[in-house]
Symmetry: C2
């Protein structure tokens, strides 16, 4: 197998990231590409959720994944081994991507025939929430073992995301996780949040999440 | 109960954080205070590990906790309800604390009679690893549900820490977590890392971690 393509992103020198993100969003809209910014803590299951979504996306939408990491290419290799177009982005130690870094990644990816490009952001609940990447869909994953109090401690993440997957629900019996308390905290900050309960491991709930995302991608391309 | 003391930290204007961290370390040494910087992903179990350590610390070392968060005071309140001196630090959205912010917290805490002050850093594997807080002990927690690949993806965290607790080992049977692979990745980056396997929930392994930390505190105060 050929070596994984690894792109070393350059730090943006643009001062107005919000404006640049709007420009990128328009550029992508014109190309018919939907960009989904996927955010979570480290180890919440971003990569495994994408793998679980694949069988529902196949035949419906063409998707590829840009894996952003501080170091290594393990996730990009996992994604590629599953037959999904993938590229590895390195942030040079930075804890997030902005719109310009995302644009660098999309250009290097060179997959303009895709319906959906997923940017798997750095595992981090703080910094990625602060920077608009130009994505049309902002999704966050909260895994059950992290606890139901994350929306209280990292509120901005739950304000900027418009869809949320609660992952590892197969482990609900092992952890104290109060769904009602979590939902109350999320919806107080973001009444429009779409919440899905899934297990990327067992597949539970993934069909509903996939159906929702496919609809969103089709609406954005319409 | 009186309201939890919440300190809004000011962003440091010092340019040389490493130098300032050394200054703070010396100041603390003179006061006979050991500072432990506790880092992990969100939800790995920083607060619950501190609660589990309490019964071993009691009668051996006097300790208090500075809880750093973006928002809320839930952890500081939990710690105080357990009878541990505590203060809540807010970082104004910042993803880490530097030495000057840590000093602001210690001054506001005003507990110079303690043997050990634990700084519970922002839940984040990226930014806290980049800033020396002035701590003598840098500890990181990796929880089993996060996966054994975190040392490969967030290498700096495992380079700057000198002690590491692998938490939630009561859930080992529910998750794919390869201890040998994790240890290999950690020790390749940091051959001196002390690794403890614990469950803050069941108490397994906590006595050994506590014994090690008590010894470190006594050595640093000697």
């Amino acid at each position: 197998m050929e070596d994984m393509k690894i792109i070393e992103l350059k730090e943006s020198i643009l001062e107005d990231n919000d404006k640049d993100a709007d420009v990128l969003r328009n550029e992508l809209k014109e190309k018919g590409i939907c960009l989904l910014n996927l955010m979570s803590s480290p180890g919440a299951g971003k990569t495994s959720t994408l793998l679980a979504l694949k069988k529902y996306f196949d035949g419906n939408i063409r998707f590829g994944v840009m894996e952003a990491d501080i170091d290594s290419a393990v996730d990009a290799e996992t994604i590629r081994e599953a037959g999904i177009p993938s590229i590895q982005l390195h942030t040079g130690g930075m804890c997030h991507l902005d719109a310009d870094m995302t644009r660098q990644g999309i250009r290097a990816f060179g997959q303009d025939d895709l319906d959906l490009i997923v940017l798997e952001n750095i595992g981090n609940l703080v910094c990625p929430a602060e920077f608009d990447t130009g994505a049309q869909i902002n999704m966050t994953i909260l895994s059950v073992p992290e606890g139901d109090d994350k929306p209280v401690k990292y509120p901005l993440m739950y304000e900027v995301a418009d869809v949320m997957a609660v992952n590892k629900i197969d482990a609900l019996s092992v952890f104290d996780f109060d769904k009602a308390r979590m939902e109350k905290a999320v919806l107080a900050r973001n009444p429009g949040m779409k919440i899905f309960y899934i297990s990327a491991k067992t597949g539970e709930g993934v069909a509903e999440l996939a159906e929702y995302l496919i609809r969103r991608v089709r609406e954005l391309k319409a």
